[in-house]
């Protein structure tokens, strides 16, 4: 089973994103040999998140066999718990948020209580950086500390190393919560392959079970993660990443 943990539908306000529709994504996944995708609504990162969750769930419904909805929740809004409950009730597979600090911990705790993984974005793309809050290493540690299973998308090697260090520090500081690191996974969409070989270095250091397949479609070329895995050194060829479908089942 290979699930793309990092996909969206919809566009961004500052550039044209070609054909970001669910039916195109379903076709791309079939072409690339990817079994399924976790799909969030991209415009929700830039605007009224809750208003678009129902449209996301409706839009993905005809492709339910392969496209799983990741609703977006904004804890700055009073109705965020209601939005989360409504999305969960309609079959959302996970929750995305772009919030930080205490609000993030509240969302993470509620996700943990409901058994829903939380998806945090380390990066969308350069032009989005001024418009959307990105998660930092402390956010990842805080969300894991609150008990959520956390999938981090768009992190590069430096981000992953910072987050793992923050999780290790958490384990030392709070001996009761050494398992927080085991609740965090990183997608490989933006981790460099050769010649830097960042992906190889991270797989050696943290183990393939900490990483999941992710592309960043429709912002990024869907072919990149597959190419990256193919170009791994011989001793890592066939390294088995975790799959987000397994994370849901835990």
């Amino acid at each position: 089973m290979r699930t793309d943990a990092h996909a969206f539908i919809g566009g961004v306000p500052y550039r044209d994103v070609p054909h970001p529709e669910p039916q195109i994504l379903a076709r791309v996944l079939a072409r690339e040999g990817v079994d399924a995708a976790w799909v969030a609504d991209l415009p929700s990162a830039f605007g009224d998140a809750h208003a678009r969750n129902d449209a996301l769930l409706d839009g993905l419904a005809p492709h339910a066999a392969v496209l799983r909805a990741v609703i977006t929740v904004d804890p700055a809004r009073e109705d965020w718990e209601e939005a989360l409950a409504r999305g969960a009730g309609r079959g959302a597979v996970a929750v995305r948020t772009y919030a930080g600090s205490a609000a993030l911990e509240a969302v993470a705790a509620r996700c943990a209580a409901r058994g829903l993984p939380l998806v945090l974005a380390a990066h969308l793309e350069p032009a989005a950086a001024a418009l959307v809050r990105s998660a930092d290493a402390a956010d990842v540690a805080a969300a894991a500390r609150a008990g959520a299973r956390v999938v981090v998308t768009g992190g590069d090697r430096a981000f992953v190393e910072r987050a793992l260090a923050a999780l290790d520090a958490l384990a030392v500081r709070e001996a009761r919560d050494g398992a927080a690191r085991e609740r965090v996974w990183f997608d490989i969409a933006r981790i460099a392959g050769p010649s830097a070989d960042d992906l190889a270095a991270l797989l050696r250091a943290a183990g393939p079970a900490r990483f999941v397949y992710g592309s960043g479609w429709p912002l990024r070329l869907t072919q990149v993660p597959k190419a990256n895995l193919e170009l791994l050194p011989a001793e890592l060829a066939g390294a088995r990443l975790a799959d987000v479908s397994e994370i849901v089942a835990r």
Binding site: R15, D16, V17, P18, R31, E125, P126, A127, A192, G193, P194, S195, A196, D197, L199, A200, G216, W217, P218, L219, R220, L221, T222, Q223, V224, K226, A227, N228, E230, L231, P233
Partner: protein, 236 residues
């Protein structure tokens, strides 16, 4: 045949990783190049960079060619490096332009073009300006990464027939290769890996989906590079 028309200089462990990935992709010839990021901070730094590139190419003659770096902020040294590089088999000039005045940029362009060497630049807007001012010189815009040049700069660049685009400039951004094909056409695109062979391999596969026909793909994969870089060796 598959020509990497813009391969970043890799040393140490990165060189081994590049060799492994290049073999897996099936790259037959590499042009060691790169003019993005800050220039080396001294004449010695530029000279040293050129020596390392040249030594690598000499050690793998038939597989690797090199592009000479020149910093337009240091016009005398730039002219000297271009002249020496031309005698020593460089196939193009990587011109670092940040902080250089217009006259110094022009001088470096004239020095390279009179020797028949295409000029590679990372600044898309400047490349368009220089290509307009020097219509008989050949230019390549190469700005690897995911931060695309502004649409206006790309339009200005595409309007100059003496400019090629290195696809490394499109990074992993979906839609960027389609836009480059529309703007430049398949005869003015070069496939370069820069420092990301994974992204470059993904681009080849994206081109298989996007580009119309094998002949067009061959232009991007190698034919355009051979036509532009006249000093590139024969069959790879």
């Amino acid at each position: 045949m598959l020509i990497d028309a813009g391969a970043a200089l890799a040393e140490g462990a990165a060189a081994a990783a590049r060799a492994r990935a290049a073999a897996a992709i099936g790259i037959t010839r590499q042009l060691i190049a790169g003019c993005d990021g800050p220039a080396p901070d001294s004449d010695f730094g530029i000279t040293s960079l050129n020596r390392r590139r040249r030594v690598l190419a000499r050690g793998r003659a038939g597989e690797v060619d090199w592009c000479a770096a020149a910093d337009a902020r240091r016009p005398d040294h730039a002219r000297d490096q271009i002249a020496r590089a031309s005698q020593r088999g460089a196939v193009a000039v990587d011109l670092f332009t940040a902080g250089a005045d217009e006259l110094a940029q022009d001088m470096a362009v004239v020095e390279a073009s009179r020797r028949g060497l295409p000029i590679r630049l990372a600044d898309a807007a400047l490349a368009a300006e220089l290509a307009r001012a020097h219509p008989r010189a050949a230019f390549v815009c190469s700005a690897p990464g995911d931060a695309l040049p502004a649409d206006a700069a790309m339009d200005a660049l595409a309007a100059r027939p003496n400019v090629h685009l290195d696809l490394a400039t499109c990074g992993a951004v979906r839609g960027a290769i389609d836009a480059a094909l529309q703007r430049f056409g398949p005869d003015r695109l070069l496939w370069g890996t820069a420092a990301r062979l994974d992204v470059a391999l993904a681009q080849l596969r994206a081109l298989d989906v996007i580009a119309p026909g094998e002949g067009v793909l061959d232009n991007i994969r190698w034919r355009n590079a051979l036509r532009l870089y006249k000093r590139l060796g024969g069959e790879g």
